[in-house]
Amino acid sequence: MYAWIWRKLPGPFAAKLTLAVVLALGVVALLMFIVFPWLEPRLWFNEVAVN
């Protein structure tokens, strides 16, 4: 999978590396700002109230 992505990235080594880092950061940001905030209230381990 990762080898395949690496081959698909265009340009010389430096460009590939830069693109790879940008892609990785993009995935992390997507998780942190969209996926995790959406997921978290659906999990059970952060309940603090009695009801």
Partner: protein, 286 residues
């Protein structure tokens, strides 16, 4: 003795690995996906423990500024309770002079992200009954992270637009028996009683009330006007003015709830003290 190493060497003869077949590629890809998922789970832990703190800190300071602004303009006795909006502030001197969080109305996720939240329908600060507040223990600013470090008679200060209400944590389970002759005699425990009715065999209305208790999440009666008892147990005028804090227990788990209950011992109008620091020096905490 030493054979040359490298491309031209004879000791290591490099042969390119045989190209993977379809099965090999599938196995490698599955492995990569599993490693990736593992990293995502780790990242989620980082998010829970640290990133939510950052998000909540921003929201908390915004709520705090807004509350200060409102209090400057308007000193009404009874705050208007709007879902998710701050109306009071909690200080716990034991956790440091700087420890303070705004208390929001409601205990839903949005309110608790800002800071501790007031259980809707429970009493307000200073009132007879039970002023009940829930707060996160892990992530989201973790306002109630250290609640298990409190001991009986530790002070909890609730600040409203007009007053400081000073509550003290009630005696713990193992201190009740010998309270009057034991820890209760300590000057810092002034105003703290066991709330037990000595005329009644089972201890009366507050027989189930302790400074610290661990209960199941389903035990909603912990925030009743008389904790763990029906509403009709005592008429409102006879109820003690309690403050109950709830959070998850043990830390990092939601199996149980930690319940800290304290009793109102003093009310200090804000016009009698300069600020919170001045209050602390008067109540012997600074």
């Amino acid at each position: 003795m030493f054979a040359p190493v490298g491309k031209s060497g004879t000791a290591t003869k490099e042969t390119a690995p045989a190209p993977l077949g379809k099965g090999g590629v599938a196995i490698r890809t599955a492995g990569e996906i599993l490693i990736t998922l593992g990293l995502v789970v780790l990242l989620f832990m980082v998010y829970e423990l640290y990133v939510t703190d950052l998000f909540s800190a921003g929201k908390q300071s915004e709520a705090s500024d807004q509350l200060n602004g409102e209090w400057e303009h308007d000193r009404t006795l009874h705050p208007e309770l709007i879902d998710g909006k701050a109306f009071a502030r909690i200080h716990i001197p034991t956790f440091g002079v700087d420890y303070n969080f705004t208390i929001q109305e409601g205990t839903d996720e949005a309110a608790l992200e800002v800071g501790p939240g007031h259980y809707k329908g429970t009493s307000l600060p200073g009132e007879p009954g039970n002023f009940a507040v829930a707060g996160h223990r892990v992530g989201k600013g973790a306002p109630f992270n250290d609640l298990d470090n409190l001991s009986s008679c530790d002070q909890i200060v609730i600040e409203t637009s007009t007053d400081f209400y000073i509550y003290k944590v009630l005696p713990y389970d193992d201190e009740i028996e010998d309270w009057a002759g034991g820890k209760g005699a300590d000057p810092k425990c002034k105003g703290v009683s066991t709330l037990r009715d000595t005329n009644s065999e089972d201890g009366g209305a507050y027989s189930e009330t302790f400074g610290r208790k661990v209960v199941l999440p389903s035990q909603g009666t912990a925030v009743n006007a008389v904790p763990y008892k029906d509403a009709e147990t005592l008429p409102k005028a006879q109820q003690a003015a309690l403050l109950t804090l709830t959070t998850c227990h043990p830390q990092f788990s939601a199996q149980q709830r930690l319940i800290i209950t304290s009793v109102l011992t003093q009310q200090v109008p804000k016009n009698q003290v300069k600020d919170y620091g001045d209050l602390l020096s008067k109540i012997g905490e600074a």
